[in-house]
């Protein structure tokens, strides 16, 4: 693929769409991607936007629908992404269960993607719950960025994405990095059989 994609995942109301709009004011496009699960081919509607970075190129940001979260592991195995931003409503009572659900999906992969977690609705997120969520991430063996963010505040979302890119920078090997073609290759109009 001719892209360096970052996938935004999380439950409904987690702030994925707001975060995408905060980063890329430009219009996003919708694509249908087909995930093969056993004998079934399941269409997943993915929203995509490009973040134009001067002198570097474009960073593709894709928004994965909450309704297909059970397929997330399959999706990432079939369509590798450079990193994953997991966004959760930190003020939600079920935030811990939701985090566990997504982390199970992501860490079940042979090579789990590089991850950064943003806990939105920071004002409603108590310290106790924040600590509890950090414990959950530690339970899964993760030392990823875990920040309280305001998904509508550019500095917060940009810092989360910056931390994800830096984690990719230090953890991903050269071969895998090159496999993503990086920013020097702009999004091409080539369509592959992954898109239906």
């Amino acid at each position: 693929m001719n892209e360096f994609p970052i996938l935004l995942v999380g439950p409904d109301g987690g702030g994925k769409t707001s975060a995408l709009r905060t980063l890329c004011q430009r219009e996003s496009t919708r694509r249908r991607m087909v995930v093969v699960n056993g004998d079934k081919r399941i269409a997943v509607g993915v929203e995509q936007a490009a973040l134009k970075i001067p002198d570097v190129g474009e960073l593709a940001l894709r928004l994965y629908p909450a309704g297909r979260s059970a397929l997330l592991g399959h999706f990432l195995r079939q369509m590798p992404h450079a990193g994953v931003l997991l966004l959760l409503d930190g003020g939600d009572e079920s935030a811990i269960e939701q985090l566990r659900h997504y982390l199970k999906q992501l860490t079940s992969m042979t090579e789990p993607p590089t991850l950064a977690i943003g806990l939105t609705q920071a004002a409603r997120l108590s310290r106790k719950r924040f600590d509890g969520l950090a414990h959950q991430a530690a339970d899964f063996g993760l030392r990823c960025p875990l920040f309280r963010i305001d998904e509508t505040r550019y500095e917060d979302v940009a810092l989360l994405l910056e931390s994800l890119l830096l984690t990719i920078h230090v953890t991903m090997d050269e071969e895998t990095l090159d496999g993503f073609s990086s920013f020097t290759e702009p999004l091409s109009s080539v369509s592959s059989d992954l898109y239906s």
Binding site: F130, A138, R143, L146, E155, T167, L177, T184, E185, V190
Partner: protein, 379 residues
Amino acid sequence: MREPLSIAVGQAGAAKKMLRRMLRSESLRALFKSHDELEECALHADCLVFDITDPLANRRWRMFRAGRRMAGVIIVADGAVSLPPRLQARAVVLQKPLSPDSVAWGLRKLARLMNEAGMADGLRPVEASFSLPRLNLLRAADWLHGKRNGLTARYASMAEIGPDDEEHLRHLAFDPDEYLVGLLRNVLARDERAIFIRVPEGGIQLNPYVGIAMLYGDLLDVKALCGKRLKEFGSSLEVGGEELRSRIVPGQSPRHLSIEALLWLATLIAARGRFPDSLDIAAPRRLARWPDLPRLLDAPHVARICALWASDELNAFEVASGLGIHQRHVFGFASAAHMLGLFATGSDGVARAAPDGGWLARRILSGTKVFSRVLRGVR
């Protein structure tokens, strides 16, 4: 594979110069053909380079695309390029402006693609000092960082030291108890009720149970306060409970800050690129978790240090050399991370240390007391 390697460059002046320099440095002989000769040599060249921002070269590229010729292609472009499927496995697109790094990366990638396709055994990878995707990740991260307000530190003129240089290491250690940060740490460790600290410029109210600090007075003054040694305050510094409230709470509304953010700020300012004497700076360690950066004052290279230190067990000197930054930035960060209990304490991989140091444990204990009291009441 023929020798020398033939590279036809159609109207790609800058790319041609860079390629020539790069291949020469790799001792690869290459035939560079001018635009006029391109037609002829394109039939047998191993690699073709098209700068499609030039109209003539763009026409040649479109002719090449439509033809059946199978060679490696480097396309220099300004924007998106549509590649036919047969060329996807042997084409590399470089965006303008070109740099030696981008050209080296392009050649390296082309060599890999062609080797995978069994096309080239002579086009050796050209090593760039730093791979382009990696460099671009750093550029992108820098761009996203923008110009956040934070602490600035200029250590460039200060000498760097080695991990075995014990004498200099001793000079760079500081005692946190001489500063506000030490006072904060000590009062937080022994009390979970509201604590008041009266200082000449105002006061600080700490509420450890909820993890909130209230600052009365100007934050700039708090910064100055964090950098002063406690002995400079003399009798003007008082610590106490509720009885101090009336004396330090002026009419103005306080500024709220998490205790974590206050400790972070106080440590970074007190440390000034040094490290606490209780921290063995030369010992390898690893971050158990990232600090909650959006809620903390920004400091130079903090996100980079976190990314590297969370990925592996390293000492501060290795972190500094790995990132190519002055070691004082790493020492300052290590002080703040140590104060917040962010370093893994066990050797069991991911530390099971409480994410927020002792506060969580204290809250749990406090909860137990409340629970016991309720039970006693029931009995």
